[in-house]
């Protein structure tokens, strides 16, 4: 693969990511504006779309993949996810517990 091909593949990846991100955001807004399902189901759908978009952006914009060259970055992202989950989850557990005991 020469430099030109590589560049084209890169541009394609950005375009795919961009289109995907726009579609997913649009769909999320649309199902809230024109509800077709119960609020609970809509909420779940929005969350799913958001999560998918995160993965898509990592893949297309930040070039995170399972390839060896991107392994370091992937590890950092997983580590970050773990730490943020610990901090946010721990906070929720602690403060909801306090709320329960005080209310």
């Amino acid at each position: 693969m020469n430099g030109n091909d590589e560049r084209r593949a890169e541009v394609r990846s950005y375009l795919v990511g961009y289109a995907g991100a726009i579609v997913m955001t649009g769909v999320a807004f649309a199902i809230v504006q024109w509800p077709i399902a119960s609020p609970k189901l809509t909420f779940a759908a929005v969350l799913t779309l958001a999560f998918t978009q995160i993965v898509l952006q990592f893949r297309c914009f930040l070039h995170i993949s399972l390839r060896r060259s991107a392994r370091d970055d992937l590890q950092l992202i997983l580590f970050s996810t773990l730490v943020v989950a610990l901090m946010v989850g721990g906070t929720l557990v602690i403060l909801l517990n306090l709320r329960e005991r005080m209310m």
Binding site: G90, T91, N97
Partner: protein, 694 residues
Amino acid sequence: MTDPVWPMLLGRFTWDSLPFVRAWHNPTTNELIAAAAGGIVVVSGIAVLVLITVLRRWRWLWTEWLTSLDHKKIGILYIVIALVMLARALVEANLMRLQQAVAVGNPGFVAPEHFAELFSTHGSIMIFFMAMPFLTGLINYLVPLQIGARDVAFPVLNAISLWLTAAGAALMMASLVIGRFSTGGWSGYPPFTEIGFNPGVGPDYWIWAVTLGSLASTMTGINIAVTIYKMRCPGMKLMRMPLFTWTSLCTAILMIFAMPPLTVATALLALDRYLGFHFFTNALGGNMMHYANLFWMFGHPEVYIVILPAFGIYSEVVSTFSSKELYGYKSLVIATMAIAVLSFTVWLHHFFTMGQSASINAAFGIATMAIGVPTGVKIYNWIWTMFRGEVRFTTPMIYALAFMMTFVLGGLTGIILAFPPLDYIVHNTLFLVAHFHNMLIPGTLYGLLAAYTFWFPKVFGYRLDERWGRISCLCWIVGFYLAFMPLYVLGASGMARRTQAVMETAYRPWLYMAEAGALILLCAFAALIVQLWVSIRRRGANDVFVGDPWDGRALEWSVSAPPPEFNFARLPHVDQAHWFYDAKRKYAPYAPPIAYHDIWMLRNSAVAPVIGIASGAATFGLVWHMWWLAIFGLIVIFAAVVARSFVRDTHRVIPASEVARIDESWREATARAQPVPREIETSPANQGLALVRS
């Protein structure tokens, strides 16, 4: 005297804000101490300015140091800040100990409010402006050298971090001269620090100094992590990195995740105080427990931010002065990573008594005890490293040994405190104070001082005086035990921490003992200054230009001392861990490279000092409600960043001939030097070339 003077310009400044005026009106010992402290700041500040002017060093200072983007110079400046702040916080510690020793059954000589300022500044300084700058300086200096890089990944950001830290430290110093500092302790718990209970400038000083420090540390964390991930020399795989670099990496990652909660906590507190928000107030829906939660979400990882680099330092020191490879390198790396992750699972143990249910307390208590496991692994690693090694009791090694003994004791009391029911009993007593000093003094301070002694020859090109180093080391050890072991007894007998006057006469002998210890710790610092003085005087005899005085292992020892501006004439290629150590034994590590090339280095930049001074001014304006100054400072910061982005000509070339000249003169010195065996490495015979027995 209590009316604002010209409020448009000076905000809420009154003549009474000056400690000198207060002392003039009310000359008690308490006010005189405050005035003397302020006087020392003013006089020494003026003395420094005069000295620089008389020696005509302004231009030199500006071009060689203040605007330099060299990671080595930035590292040294960090450590200078740390040592100045250490001196102040140590004196404050002595004042507190003296007050408590005197004030048994009487009010003593330091008023309660002043005493509260003392423990608040002591804690804030020791954490944010002593430990953090010191370790950041060491990491800054050493990591690029250890991974074979020419600089950190973001040199301008690095300089900005330094200058934000300096601005925070300057704010701490300003609080001695103008106004008063917070009385809310280093953790600044609301609602006490809210506007309703503390309308003065004190908490604002604390908020902005800490905010500047935390922003700087976040950026440093990003910088170091990216440097280690992206700038390693060819062949330097992660598992070939020296342990200090590994612990620096973990510390950097902890900084990235742990500092933002602090910044958020102080920012929310600032919103409460300045704009009438109610995040942490008693009324109107505020809840201070959110603050405790946010603060300790930072606070616990912070403990490991300051201790992990010291673990790295001890690993290097123990391995070097035992002439043995580190025992269980892989297990040490895994233990470091485990500590880094676990440190995010235990923050609740700082507020076991806040009122959550027993099962949650138990879960966090168990997690806390679990951290003891990887830490214990490390202690065994160091012991096994020394086993059957050629151990030399040099100053850094004595620090390391004292650390191992003392840190285990502190860890043991930590396990005691990790039981929630026991924690309820000793919560807020001196037992806790004794525990965390027992962790931080051996765990951080001894490590930093060991590093200072160990790497000083690399940084300045001559060894520190061994005798005064040992005297200082001995004083730090004896002083620590005398000052803090009594606090365990006092705490277990129920003496609350942060007590200004003591009513129980049975405490008196223990308080005397602690005061004696504090004095010895002060002597330790004095000995450190004497050591520096003596070493500078005898620098000719202790010269180690060749750069490897201790038969070192990592790459930083493979260059001259001090290293050239570009670190490596040619970037090294390594094919194993301890590449330099093995190269000395197997082939010629000092052979010149095949060819020299031009090296691109960054030009100096004034953007960091401008941002630092402007942010210091802006936060000072915020503290005193001088809104014009705050706005002006923010505009300058913004303008400086924009202006910097227009600077296109950021690099300069060091031509290959110049590189060759510098490198060859060092190689000639290497060829001339007499190799020394380990037995006489602390004698003047040591010129920095190690005698190798393969």
